[in-house]
């Protein structure tokens, strides 16, 4: 009984994670400029990764693998905002300006 | 049918990759691009070796408690493991040479380098003649 509940919940969270990653990659393709695309890539790094790692943790049960998976999760949580911020910072420094949607002009 | 196509598909793509690497090395004038081409060639050779070692249904050659497990062939893995690291060492050596060439000639384009060489040669030749 409990086994099947865990199994189904892990499947659900895996599918949720895949959905987030799919939407994120569509966002990377579709959004207009670098600054907006960083949000989409942030979605892949936070929600997608978290849900997929949660799903895999539920699959493996309590073991060494779970510890390693959580380690990966923490690592990606640490590094993703750094790369996002540094990219945005450099783009600002080099004089790139974000595009505003309403008037088609830069902010 | 599917079995036959996918059975040799890997080989085909690996050979195509090899040829792409060779084409870059032969035809591109930029020395840096040539090193990238060499890296592609290298990786395709590694893939070829590892493909030979694969057994369908086998697992990685790390022994488990299950005694009836089939393991893939570990010998190509060992050869390629060392080859990758040596490949990086040679790549670094090539890059260092390119940097030195750029310092000496002011360019990394093959044509420009040989043009500079030709000019130097003619200058020396004419100096000798004058003397």
């Amino acid at each position: 009984m409990i086994d099947s509940i865990i199994n189904y919940s892990s499947i659900a969270s895996l599918i949720l994670g895949i959905l987030f990653i799919l939407i994120g990659s569509i966002g990377i393709l579709r959004l207009p400029d670098v600054f907006s695309r960083i949000h989409a890539s942030g979605m892949i790094d936070t929600a997608g990764t978290a849900f997929i790692i949660l799903g895999m943790c539920l699959q493996s049960g309590i073991s060494l693998i779970t510890a390693k998976l959580i380690f990966i999760g923490i690592f990606i949580f640490f590094t993703s905002p750094i790369t996002g911020h540094v990219t945005a910072n450099l783009a600002r420094k080099k004089g790139l300006k974000p595009i505003s949607n309403n008037k088609g002009e830069t902010l | 049918m599917i079995n036959e196509i996918f059975g040799v598909w890997n080989y085909w793509i690996v050979f195509t990759l090899m040829m792409i690497g060779l084409y870059i090395v032969i035809s591109k004038k930029s020395l840096l691009k040539k090193v990238v081409g060499l890296a592609i060639f290298q990786t395709s050779v590694f893939l070829l070796y590892i493909t030979f070692g694969k057994i369908a249904g086998g697992t990685a050659p790390i022994i488990t408690n299950n005694s009836e497990e089939i393991y893939s062939n570990p010998l190509p893995h060992v050869l390629i493991l060392t080859a990758i690291v040596v490949g990086v060492a040679t790549t670094a050596l090539g890059l260092a040479l390119i940097v030195r060439i750029n310092k000496a000639y002011g360019s990394i384009n093959e044509d420009e380098i040989s043009a500079v060489d030709l000019v130097d040669y003619h200058e020396k030749f004419s100096e000798k003649k004058n003397k």
Partner: protein, 87 residues
């Protein structure tokens, strides 16, 4: 079977981001796309371990995450200063 489906979904995402990597307008777009591809490959490796039934090899994906981060920092540093060594 489920893991196989997830792997194929990953490859669709991979293709989508690869289009951005190839067609990206500015270099920052490309750096961002390369970083996202790295994250997806990290997840794909762990999923592949579960699919093959031997999930002990998650060390590889840790290394991937690490290398991905360091590579991105290196590219950005080159863009900022034009040289890797200086402060």
């Amino acid at each position: 079977m489920m893991f196989l489906a997830i792997l194929f979904a990953f490859s669709v995402c991979f293709l989508l981001i690869l289009i951005r990597l190839i067609a990206g307008k500015t270099t920052y777009d490309r750096i961002l796309a390369a970083n996202s591809i790295g994250t997806i490959v990290v997840l794909a490796i762990s999923i592949h371990g579960f699919y093959m039934g031997r999930p002990e090899f998650i060390d590889i994906s840790i290394v991937y995450a690490l290398i991905n981060f360091i590579g991105t920092v290196a590219v950005l540093k080159l863009f900022d200063k034009g040289k890797l060594g200086d402060k």
